[in-house]
């Protein structure tokens, strides 16, 4: 199908983009387009104006800033998954990004677009929460920073307002941490039925710190705080990790759909959390 007609703007700076969003009431922001263009084609959305961020160079790239990596919102998935800095300091993000859709989509799709789209089955919100990422939002009143845990408000809804843009993702360095993203699907190229993002820091044979967050176990990514606390000080053995992972579904409200009911997802969360933590610990 062909999208409904729209007016197209391709600004070259963030300020120009913000001015366009302020000027037009029915405008949609186009990042990599790998969710938006299919939605336009199916006419699930028919905005009057498209503001394409593809010509804004300042929104691309990955750099270090002290204890954090700073990733431009328009950095494509493929660049994130193959970047040496991300591999060294935020391996969890690289591993999760490599599971998004398929290679063609990862060449076009962007980290910022995926986070603002906030699909509960998307693979990037959970690692952003697990790693304690901060999201920098530009609006008419200047820039503000929102913690990932506060960024995702509901299904497809974030702290980014209609006239705002996500410009940067700041990821605290987790250098030397083990990481794994365990994604469960029935077939390739599918959205996560459940996914688990895990990062652990070992001290000798035991787990000194753990970060675990879940994909598609609610309308927003869920931090598995009970699992994290239960893992601290434990040996990285199958028995100890299994005992901690048994609490993975606590406080979650997963959906029931054609891929499985809520109870099935609660069970999956415990199994996948065990696998993810063990793999992250290299056990």
């Amino acid at each position: 199908m062909i999208p409904a007609a729209f007016d197209y703007h391709a600004p070259s700076t963030v300020d120009e983009a913000l001015a366009l969003l302020a000027e037009h009431d029915d405008a949609k922001v186009l990042a990599g387009g790998q969710s938006l263009i299919p939605v336009l084609r199916l006419r699930l959305a028919a905005p009057e104006v498209i503001v394409d961020l593809g010509r804004i160079e300042e929104l691309r790239g990955i750099r270090e800033d002290g204890d954090a990596l700073v990733i431009g919102a328009m950095t494509p998935h493929h660049a994130v998954e193959t970047d040496a800095l991300v591999a060294e300091h935020a391996k969890l993000l690289a591993l999760a990004t490599a599971t998004v859709a398929d290679p063609q989509v990862r060449h076009r799709g962007t980290i910022g677009g995926a986070l603002v789209h906030a699909d509960p089955a998307g693979d990037l919100p959970a690692p952003a929460v697990a790693l304690g990422a901060e999201l920098v939002i530009a609006g008419s009143g200047g820039r503000r920073t929102v913690a990932a845990e506060d960024f995702f408000e509901d299904l497809f809804t974030t702290a980014v307002g209609e006239d705002d843009l996500l410009v940067e993702i700041r990821v605290p360095k987790h250098t030397g941490w083990g990481a794994h993203y365990e994604k469960f699907t029935r077939v390739v190229q599918q959205w996560s039925i459940v996914g688990v993002a895990a990062a652990v820091r070992l001290d000798g044979d035991s787990i000194a710190e753990a970060r675990v967050a879940l994909t598609n176990m609610g309308s927003t990514p869920v931090r598995a705080a009970a699992v994290e606390q239960a893992l601290v000080g434990q040996p990285a053995t199958a028995e100890a990790v299994q005992a901690a992972a048994a609490q993975a579904a606590e406080g979650t409200s997963p959906p029931s759909d054609s891929n499985g009911d809520a109870e099935y997802r609660r069970h999956l969360a415990t199994v996948l959390t065990r696998r993810a933590v063990l793999a992250a610990a290299g056990a």
Binding site: A5, Y8, P38, L40, D102, Q104, H107, R108
Partner: protein
């Protein structure tokens, strides 16, 4: 209408397009490059895969205006002086197709895959082609073709 200039298969084109025009429709209907096909219309099947600035993309999920100032390579731009591209030749020699509808996309994605991983295993080929579907389910010979092309490139 928006004026765009796109280099397609080595030739520069300047055209007026509606912003809503998908790249695949621009290629097929405005430039007559029907070698790139529309399979599913939902971004799943990969039949419309082309290269944009040297990387594979699904041309049903890119607007023609987004390609303004960029380079596109389609299946029609691979052969040089009547000689098939090595990956095209490998698909031909290993019968990497049944009905042939997915073949343009399979070949374009295989070239991208081999550029990143010149000697893939069977599993790596299957994973690298996860965004391309063959509804004849002829995957066995497709994998064989890509492995043969990798061997030929050594």
């Amino acid at each position: 209408m928006t004026r765009i200039t796109v280099n397609v298969d080595g030739t520069s084109y300047t055209d007026d397009v509606e912003p809503r025009t998908l790249l695949v429709h621009y290629l097929r209907e405005q430039l007559g490059k029907t070698g790139t096909v529309v399979g599913c219309d939902t971004s799943n099947c990969g039949a419309c895969t082309v290269h944009l600035d040297g990387r594979s993309v699904k041309s049903c999920s890119v607007l023609a205006v987004q390609a303004d100032g960029h380079e596109v390579t389609t299946i029609e731009g691979l052969a040089t002086n009547g000689e098939l591209h090595p990956v095209q030749r490998a698909f031909h020699e290993n019968h990497g197709l049944q009905c042939g509808f997915c073949t343009p996309g399979m070949i374009m994605q295989s070239i991208d895959l081999l550029a990143e991983n010149p000697d893939p295993t069977d599993d790596e080929v299957r994973l690298g082609l996860e965004g391309n579907m063959c509804r004849c389910t002829g995957y066995q010979n497709i994998v064989k073709s890509v492995r043969a092309a990798a061997g030929g490139a050594k």
